[in-house]
């Protein structure tokens, strides 16, 4: 296992409630593990503990077999962390930012210029990061997290602030890195990203894991199977959602099929967000 978390709990100073409450999960080597939950669910707190930014108060965390209480330099040589906030040195150029971070690692590192080109920042490599847009800084942070060729890659909302083209680019890079054997811990509240990329997802709500499985299994277990039909009535196109599991809907569907007014018919599976709402009782945007 690359990440092992047992009964992890954390309470911020001055707070009575636990930000993380008894969380347990494991992440296998080469897996993309989606950590899904709304803002304030405890996702970032968990990631901060896993990356050593917050101390371990209770529970057990092992990263690549190393106890997070005594991480040592070796652990930080193994991990890469992409933050949600574009935290780069604004007075340094994009290239200088990556060169600086590359010099902090003990092992071989990626070529900063190649990384910048990979995230579409090759043309502005020598421009100060302070002159970058938020999206460009976000890509710089994303590139920086790859500078040490991490074995375990922590991504916190990696597509935040990116346009659809760049979002696709980032998703492609995540898939490429996974194919190369990198383990990815993906923290997000974006269910589309989690659904597309994750091998398994954990739903986190109020510091606790509500469900943990592959996206497909979760949808099958918690989602309702539906059929969407488009019917032409009096020259107007009408859309109806029917459940094949309900007898009344099945009868209605047969009527539509025989009446000849049916124009399209599609199966519709539940989205991860719908499953999340069903499991936790709240939406992902809150």
């Amino acid at each position: 296992m690359m990440i092992e978390v047992r009964d992890l709990s954390f309470t911020y100073g001055g707070s009575r409630t636990r930000a993380v409450d008894g969380v347990t999960f494991e992440v296998k080597e080469g897996e993309i593990f989606g950590f899904l939950g709304p803002n304030g669910a405890g996702k970032s707190t968990t990631q901060k503990i896993l990356t050593g930014l917050l101390p371990l108060q209770s529970g057990e965390v092992r990263i690549a077999g190393r106890d997070i209480r005594r991480p040592g330099r070796e652990l930080f040589n193994l991990i890469g962390v992409s933050f949600e906030n574009p935290n780069v040195y604004l007075k340094l150029s994009g290239l200088e930012n990556l060169q600086f971070f590359a010099s902090l690692y003990d092992g071989p590192t990626a070529d900063p210029m190649t990384l910048l080109r990979r995230v579409g920042l090759g043309d502005v490599a020598h421009r100060r990061a302070g002159a970058y847009s938020r999206g460009m800084r976000q890509r710089l942070v994303f590139a920086r997290s790859l500078i040490n060729r991490p074995k375990i890659w922590f991504l916190d909302e990696p597509t935040s602030g990116l346009d659809p083209t760049m979002t696709r680019l980032v998703k492609d890079i995540i898939r490429e890195e996974r194919s190369a054997g990198t383990t990815v811990f993906l923290t997000t509240h974006n269910m589309h990203i989690a659904d597309e990329l994750s091998d398994r997802v954990a739903f986190l709500n109020e510091g606790r894991i509500g469900a943990l499985d592959t996206p497909r299994n979760l949808k099958l277990r918690f989602g309702e199977k539906l059929v969407v039909v488009e019917v032409r009535r009096d020259g107007r196109l009408e859309r109806e959602v029917l459940s094949p599991t309900r007898a009344e809907d099945r009868r209605h569907l047969e009527e539509l099929l025989t009446s000849g007014g049916l124009e399209t018919i599609h199966s519709q599976e539940a989205t991860l967000e719908e499953v999340f709402i069903k499991v936790t009782g709240r939406g992902l945007s809150g």
């Binding site: 100073g13 935290n87 780069v88 604004l90 010099s103 690692y105 942070v141």
Partner: protein
């Protein structure tokens, strides 16, 4: 570790240069030098110019004044010139009456001279008149137990140079190091650094080195523009560099508790004031209570004076270096612990 320290130092040097911190420090050196050279008097005692009207046939008193202090004496030869010369402020009139040698001396004051100054002037005139009239005036020999032992004491304006170096080194360490830390807190780059193999000891040492280099740049420029090239450069630069590193580490350990420079300012002012307290002992050496001598700025100030105006011997510098080194050995690990504790509370 050396590679990481070098990378951090280069990065911080780039940041301070691009934030114009270095420019600001060099401009400050020039402004301080202009003030020392042209605004602060070499002699702040306010001693007046003596307007001497010697009516004796030999005019010895006038000659004596001109020979002794040509730039603070004005010899006139008429009542009108005497009155006119006294119209200007900070002048005293010395009218010498007699045939060949002074028999009577009339002193005219402006009215704001202190009683102490009047006593000194009158006593000096008395001795001078005695000498001119042929009386036996004893020969004076002076001996100084504690510096400056050799030669003339430095002009007052140049005695300010060590003080300004001290305040600047403290200021650079305090405010600029804190400003760097706060910008990293704001950019959240400190969190990005903490998930790398880079350690806090390297992080703080690099900041100390950069602030030390800034202090050196200030010291070299300021010294050349004021004292010239005559300072004992090696002790001077070593002491300044080490002092800037020590102050930087102390400043970082305090600044980590605050969110921004505005919140930190009061602490910075208090600390700056505390570090500047030994200036009192510097100008009034008889006042040096133990509490002042414990401050790292105390030996620093006297070591700086020794580097500029040698008098007490190299032990002053050696002692200061030892004290600063010991202070650094204590505050550096303490600062790392403080940082770790603060980060454990989630403040990155």
């Amino acid at each position: 570790m050396i590679r990481r320290l070098l990378a951090l130092t280069v990065k911080d040097l780039r940041v301070v240069a691009r934030n114009h911190f270095l420019t600001a420090v060099l401009v400050l050196a020039v402004v301080y030098a202009l003030a020392v050279n042209y605004l602060v008097p070499g002699d702040p005692s306010g001693r007046p110019v003596a307007v001497v009207w010697d009516t004796t046939a030999l005019g010895l008193m006038g000659r004596l004044y001109l020979a002794a202090e040509p730039d603070r004496s004005l010899v006139v030869d008429s009542e009108a010139a005497y009155r006119e010369a006294l119209e200007e402020g900070n002048r005293i009139g010395i009218k010498v009456l007699g045939e060949l040698v002074p028999e009577r001396i009339e002193v005219t004051y402006q009215g704001y001279e202190s009683a102490r100054m009047r006593r000194v002037i009158e006593a000096t005139l008395h001795v001078q008149a005695l000498g001119l009239s042929g009386a036996n005036v004893p020969v004076f020999e002076t001996r100084t137990l504690r510096g400056p032992g050799a030669g003339e004491p430095p002009p007052f304006n140049l005695t300010l140079v060590p003080v300004l170096i001290l305040t600047e080194a403290a200021m650079v360490g305090l405010l600029l190091a804190a400003a760097l830390l706060f910008s990293e807190k704001e950019e959240q780059t400190l969190a990005a650094y903490r998930v790398t193999p880079g350690g806090l000891l390297e992080y703080m040492t690099a900041k100390g080195l950069v602030m030390g280099l800034m202090a050196l740049a200030f010291t070299v420029l300021f010294t050349v523009l004021t004292v010239g090239a005559t300072a004992a450069w090696l002790p001077l630069l070593t002491v300044v560099f080490l002092a800037a590193v020590v102050v930087t580490v102390i400043a970082l350990a305090l600044a980590v508790f605050y969110r921004n420079l505005s919140q930190f300012m009061l602490t910075a002012v208090v600390l700056n004031f505390t570090l500047a307290l030994p200036v009192v002992s510097y100008f009034q050496p008889s006042f040096s209570p133990a509490v002042l001598r414990l401050l790292p700025s105390y030996p620093l100030l006297f070591a700086l004076r020794e580097a500029y105006f040698p008098a007490a011997g190299p032990a002053v510098v050696t002692s200061a270096l030892g004290q600063l080194g010991l202070t650094l050995l204590v505050v550096l690990p303490a600062a790392v612990v403080v940082f770790r504790r603060q980060f454990a509370r989630g403040d990155a």
